[in-house]
Amino acid sequence: MVTARRSAWVPHAILIVGLLLVLFPIYVAFVASSHPLADILEAPMTLLPGSRLIANFGEALDAGTVKTSGQPVAAMLFNSLVMALAIAAGKIAISLPSAYAVVFFRFPLRRLCFWAIFVTLMLPVEVRIIPTYKIVADLSLIDSYGGLTLPLIASATATLLFRQFFLTIPDELVEAAKIDGAGPWRFLIDTVIPLSRTNIAALFVILFIYGWNQYLWPLLVTNTPSMTTIVIGIRQMIGNGDTRTEWHIVMATTLLAVLPPVAVVLLMQRWFVKGLVEAEK
């Protein structure tokens, strides 16, 4: 091959430097979570791991920090998990049927329905904060899992993705189903959903991460410590960053907060990449 490179070590060197830079903040957090607080406050902090990793993680999970009034991080993890799963499952559960309706039927106002879903793309939470908060308050959903998840559950992206996929299902398949006497419900359950398996998996990975990483909305709708999600909990543990901040616990909690989404990306990398690339088409 004429384009064969003369030296292969240059790309490797650049990639390794890039890798180290990308991983450095995570590494420092790891080091900090393995030392007692005194070691961290003794600037400059060491860059070698200490021996209190398990102790600090245990303390975070069981007892949290003083600033978060001892709310255990394990409970925050649970809240985050419920929120992420509910958002991911909820978005798929409402998007798949609506895409199916829009693609496989002709009914009055069909285009209008599609556009109504489509334009939600242009209404992120950030631009409708206060009125949305007011509605959730009126429905007395503040400090509940419903309030945490419902306003984030409508998804134009997921609907568009399913629609795109449904349009590629061959007409012959629909005809065959009709000849076999299958109605739209049977066709949905027996053919369309099984065919959508990989799309559902890909979308689930992306949406799980999206849900887990939510910040502004949980900050607004949760007030009681027992409803705090882990990403918000970290903010409260830091407070104004004064000397009373228990950085060793904060960093252990930070690692606990990134572990689940990172694990999902690692274990489901194939679907993750597929989901990411297709969601943006």
């Binding site: 004429v2 420092v28 039927f105 939600t120 209404l123 950030e126 306003p151 910040y215 502004l216 993750f272």
Partner: protein, 294 residues
């Protein structure tokens, strides 16, 4: 595009659409309409009565030097985040495209920051740059830099840009790599036979062919910097010092929730809505074109 073979009836599809339409109406359209309505009204100090004031809230908004400054800050922040996330993403993708051994490993590790919440990226970077205990801050002091982002607005801006861009490199890397891998090798070989150096091949073939990807990513990154970085700001600087990092999304939250200025905050929401609509329109116009090329 439409399907040829379909099912008949309207009741079943209506039922299928119902959940999504209900959520959309209650949590999207209703609040958006409320925001628009609220933006042309003013409430008295006791919240007892509201009066229609037309454009007054908007006029007040744009007459407010803080708001205009917030616009400029957001513009600078977004462009800086986009460029700082795109350039390393491109460089690493070009390199990852060249290596054979270890390619999968590099790719996996470089994808990891995508999974990390912007708010947490903020915490990680704040910890590195904390003036009293940060590792990097200590290094900077050793080099003779007066580092204290809690007092210096420009340093605070630099820090939030770094934190916000860091997380986004993964995303850009992935899309650039996909773009690179879709360039036919025969094109590069032909130009190599004609004697073009690797550098020349990159700038005359690869870079132009990546233009659609780059443009698409530019828009996505700007949208990200505009709307998804609230957590970074809220964690690292709280908009400070002296509002130096108060981006629009932070200000709409602060004025509405902390300052309780409903009319002003609603007007800000409407302005933000206009910005999202503009950016989405650009994105979709462009995507239409890309489909056309393919």
């Amino acid at each position: 595009m439409e399907r040829r073979v379909i099912f008949s009836g309207w009741l079943f599809p209506a039922l299928l659409l119902m959940p999504q339409l209900a959520v959309t109406l209650v949590f999207f359209f209703w609040p958006a309409a409320q925001a628009i309505l609220q933006s042309v009204r003013r409430e008295d100090a006791f919240g007892l009565s509201t009066v229609f004031v037309g454009w007054e809230n908007f006029a007040a908004l744009f007459a407010d030097p803080d708001y205009v400054a917030s616009f400029a800050i957001t513009g600078f922040f977004s462009v800086a985040v986009a460029l700082l996330a795109l350039a390393p993403g491109l460089l690493l993708a070009v390199m990852a495209d060249r290596v054979v051994r270890g390619a999968a490993f590099y790719k996996t590790v470089l994808l990891l920051p995508y999974a990390i919440a912007p708010a947490i990226a903020g915490v990680l970077w704040m910890f590195l740059f904390n003036p009293s205990i940060g590792v990097v801050a200590a290094g900077l002091r050793w080099l003779g830099v007066e580092w204290n982002y809690l007092l210096d607005g420009r340093q605070a801006m630099l820090l939030v840009i770094l934190a916000a861009a860091w997380k986004q490199i993964s995303y850009n890397f992935l899309f650039f790599l996909a773009g690179l891998q879709s360039i036919p090798p025969s094109l590069l070989e032909a130009s190599a036979i004609d004697g073009a150096s690797p550098r020349r091949r990159f700038w005359t073939i690869v870079f132009p062919l990546l233009a659609p990807t780059s443009f698409f990513l530019m828009v996505v990154n700007i949208v990200y910097a505009f709307f998804d970085t609230f957590g970074v700001i809220h964690n690292v600087t709280q908009g400070g010092p002296a509002k130096a990092t108060e981006i629009l999304v932070y200000k709409v939250w602060y004025d509405g929730i902390v300052g309780l200025d409903l009319g002003g905050s609603a007007a800000q929401s409407v302005v933000l809505m206009a910005i999202v609509i503009g950016l989405t329109a650009i994105q979709f116009r462009f995507i239409e074109r890309r489909v056309h090329y393919a």
